[in-house]
């Protein structure tokens, strides 16, 4: 006794179970990311004047990632269409492309994370701020090495747009002059906190998508030879999820990169 409508469509609802299930799941996901984007809005509106940063993200990398995800949306669709036209080889090709594009996205994302987490703001005792990537931070030495530049104060660093990049040079800073040392992690300010929260959760979704696609490409694809209709449905529901993940990025990109 099998559960009905796992591969066939129920006539009066026009859906098979998995499709309804995944749409409900996505509705829930909309509310999850909706909650997070509401939090972003609330924090940004509520931020005291001159505390919300602009232009802190690398727009080039963000654009490349946007393109990667957009391409992967097309390849998922083509993979599903290939199954619909019974071209299993084509499915394998586009399935693999989807996985590779998603992995490339995660690679770029981790590079960006690493860049932020090794980027430091050093508050000096004389009021100035040194800003740059940490080159050397040997606990035994009485200085640190930073590749960056000096600013009059932290507020000057808030707007990264338009100013062009100040010349970066290697700065040697004596530990005695340092008041505090903070990297561009979540604790620096709320822009970064909500940035890491939202993109982190998004990256987990990408990872989940990769696992699902890899399963459907590898061991799971055996089902094509036993229950092709059902296998096609699985690829379709996975694709629906993937399009949602892409869609979230379409909101992430302007809110964090183009601001």
């Amino acid at each position: 006794m099998d559960i009905p409508y796992t591969s066939k469509v129920r006539p009066d609802t026009g859906l098979y179970n998995g499709k309804l299930g995944v749409w409900l799941f996505l509705a829930s996901e909309v509310m999850l990311f909706g909650g997070l984007f509401s939090a972003y809005t609330y924090l940004r509106i509520g931020a005291p004047p001159d505390t919300w940063p602009h232009g802190w993200m690398n727009v080039t990398l963000g654009t490349i990632n946007t393109v990667l995800l957009a391409l992967s949306a097309i390849t998922t669709l083509l993979a599903w269409a290939a199954l619909k036209t019974k071209q299993f080889g084509r499915y394998k090709l586009f399935g693999l492309l989807t996985i590779l594009l998603a992995c490339a996205f995660l690679g770029i994302k981790s590079y960006e994370y690493r860049d932020k987490l090794t980027h430091y703001q050093v508050q000096l005792n004389d009021g100035r701020v040194a800003d740059g990537h940490l080159v050397e931070n040997n606990k035994d030495a009485d200085y640190i090495l930073l590749r960056g530049h000096y600013a009059a104060n932290a507020t000057e660093l808030l707007d990264g747009r338009a100013k062009g990049h100040p010349a970066h040079e290697e700065l040697k800073i004596a530990r005695a002059d340092i008041k505090s040392l903070k990297n561009y992690g979540p604790a620096l300010n709320n822009f970064l906190a909500i940035y890491f929260s939202i993109t982190g959760l998004h990256a987990i979704h990408i990872l989940g998508g990769i696992i699902v696609f890899a399963y459907l490409w590898g061991p799971g694809s055996k089902m094509w030879f036993t229950a092709p209709a059902r296998f096609t449905n699985r690829v379709e529901t996975a694709g629906l999820f993937w399009h949602f993940v892409d869609l979230v990025w379409i909101f992430v990109f302007p809110l964090f990169y183009l601001t």
């Binding site: 009905p4 409900l24 890491f196």
Partner: protein, 601 residues
């Protein structure tokens, strides 16, 4: 949603092993029973926490009798000589609320009753996604274990209320809050999987002829509750994740600028907002109230319809009212936040929606009340619980009105009046419906009745002691006694003796009355617990598969139901409550009965 072969055991006639049958079962009935035992155990545990707190409130500073030594062993500095310290009181308060709402009452309604009844009542052989169903229970169990584990870590469990308001929840320097947040993420995931399953089952797996308006009212309430869980829980998950980021990375999305802790500036970048948490929290936690109440109304409607032997009055109005209730319930959350200085315009909006949301609740209750008119009522134990639900929920609902108006809420906010109000909704309201449901469906699950005499002892005892506990709280709150005071307000009363607004002796004395009520309530649960287990072997056997002469589908299959519920797919010919239909020889006409057969003399 990938869903591997629905039932691996399908088609094979070999009996599944013990693990597959009882632990990793994918049979919705077994999963329902797993949920039932687990959530009732959590309910008992949450009640014990409360008992210890009531002792501390009535006898502040005195060692807890019987288990004082045990408390000291587990909680060390927080329970020196068995005395409940303010910290311990806060931990128990936070965990009592969390356990009761998220681990006891919601799982028992949607996990236990929902799982067991939804597929059978719509005429399906199982849930739409049986493996997901199993995972949903395991996520829930794991979340619960994380919560329980936090009792044994240094510093104890979360202690910032079940609402976990920052900044308090973030500045308490122990790991309890982290456990709470991780546990919540698992519980929310579980409820997500469960509600996807329930909705898909109701939409996709209805038997032939089971049209929308032939669904039992209980199915409608589960349907709406599942949508609320599906759509209102994720914002709390979002909030929980953000709080976890705050807690673990030292960010300050919920911490404001200039925060001082114990007189010293806090180490936080600032710029965040504690109010943001409140919005995200209550966006779930108010609809959650309707998750707590709607399936309870559904259970009550089933029991009442069966025991008045006539159709429910206004079934369609009840269905539409439950949909309206679901929709309006997501528009009222900020009525928990009148005291945050939100401004009168927004307060007016939320008090208007709050008044509106009471209308559909009243419609449902009124329909049930009018249904009683002219019925030949059978006063068995399930019916007593169901009938009592009506006035008890009414007290809970009506005492909510002064809290919904922002002007009167300013006075009552955070007093024992609030505690009395929502406990009337949940304890003698929802939990009575749960008890009624257990007595009502027990014969279907086991093939035996629960003992009627001890059932009535359980009922009358619970009714009396519930009221002894919660009625005084309404007075205490109106007198100005605040919640969350670990000494029950005695220090406040003593330091203001005779002054305007102080707490008179009579109000303080009520703390002892309530303690006795709590002890009494604990004692009358003993016959219930014994009844559940002893009746499995010794209870009166049911004479046939439909011992209550009921109409809905779960009674039209064998007892206990076969592993795939129905030997032959049922075909539905009529609505759910066709009792005493003229022209039929029996006073009930099952949904499966065709028009032309049976009974037309």
């Amino acid at each position: 949603m990938s869903q591997p072969e629905a039932h691996p055991s399908h088609g094979s006639h070999s009996e599944p092993g013990f693990l597959r049958k009882y632990v990793f079962s994918i049979d919705h009935k077994i999963i329902g029973i797993q949920y039932g035992y687990t959530s009732l155990a959590f309910m008992l545990f949450g009640f014990f926490l409360m008992g210890i707190m009531r002792w501390q409130i009535a006898h502040p500073g005195e060692a807890v009798p019987l288990i004082g030594n045990f408390l000291q062993t587990v909680f060390k500095d927080a329970a020196i000589n068995g005395v409940v310290s303010p910290d311990l009181y806060n931990m128990f308060g936070a965990m009592h609320g969390t356990i009761m709402v998220f681990l006891a009452v919601v799982p028992v309604l949607t996990g236990a009753f929902g799982n067991y009844l939804v597929p059978i009542q719509v005429g399906a052989s199982d849930m739409a996604f049986p493996r997901l169903n199993m995972m949903s229970y395991q996520f829930y169990l794991f979340g619960g274990i994380v919560m329980l584990a936090s009792f044994f870590i240094p510093g104890g469990p979360a202690q910032s209320g079940w609402t976990s308001y920052p900044p308090l929840s973030l500045i308490v320097p122990t790991d309890g809050q982290t456990y709470w947040l991780v546990g919540m993420v698992f519980i929310i995931t579980s409820s997500l999987l469960g509600s996807v399953n329930i909705i898909t089952t109701i939409v996709q797996l209805r038997a032939p002829g089971m049209t929308w308006l032939r669904l039992p009212f209980f199915i409608w309430t589960e349907f709406v509750a599942a949508f609320l869980l599906l759509l209102a829980f994720p914002p709390l998950e979002a909030a929980g994740l953000l709080q976890l980021v705050d807690k673990l990375t030292g960010s300050s999305m919920f911490l404001p600028t200039g925060l001082a802790v114990s007189g010293a500036a806090a180490h936080a970048a600032g710029g965040g907002s504690p109010i943001l948490w409140q919005h995200l929290f209550w966006f779930l936690a108010h609809p959650e109230v309707y998750v707590l109440i709607l399936p309870a109304m559904g259970i009550v409607a089933e029991i009442i319809a069966n025991n008045i032997r006539k159709p429910l009055w206004g079934y369609k109005s009840m269905v539409y009212a439950s949909l309206a209730l679901g929709f309006l319930s997501v528009l009222v959350w900020a009525h928990h936040m009148y005291l945050t200085g939100m401004g009168t315009v927004i307060a007016t909006f939320f008090q208007t929606t709050t008044m509106m949301v009471s209308v559909p609740s009243v419609i449902i209750l009124t329909c049930l009340l009018i249904s009683l008119w002219g019925g030949s009522i059978r006063f068995n134990t399930p019916m007593l619980f169901a009938l009592t639900f009506l006035p008890m929920f009414a007290i809970g609902g009506l005492t909510g009105l002064p809290l919904g108006f922002s002007a009167s809420d300013l006075h009552l906010h955070d007093t024992y009046y609030v505690i009395g109000h929502f406990h009337y909704v949940v304890a003698p309201g929802t939990i009575f419906a749960v008890f009624g449901g257990i007595y009502y469906w027990y014969p279907k699950m086991t093939g035996r009745f629960m003992n009627e005499f001890w059932g009535k002892v359980h009922f009358w005892g619970s009714l009396i002691f519930m009221n002894v506990i919660f009625m005084p709280m309404l007075s205490q709150g109106m007198a100005g006694m605040l919640r969350r005071m670990s000494d029950g307000g005695i220090n406040y009363a003593l330091s203001h003796t005779g002054a305007e607004g102080s707490l008179p002796n009579m109000i303080m004395e009520m703390n002892r009355v309530i303690l006795w009520g709590a002890i009494g309530l604990a004692i009358v649960q003993i016959p219930f617990i014994l009844n559940v287990f002893i009746s499995m072997r010794k209870g009166v056997k049911v004479a046939n598969d439909n011992p209550w002469d009921a109409t809905t589908l779960e009674w039209q299959t064998e007892t206990p139901p076969w592993v795939y519920n129905f030997r032959k797919e049922p075909v539905v010919h009529r609505g759910p409550y066709e009792y005493s239909v003229p022209g039929f020889s029996r006073d009930f006409t099952p949904q499966t009965e065709p028009d032309n057969v049976g009974a037309k003399h």
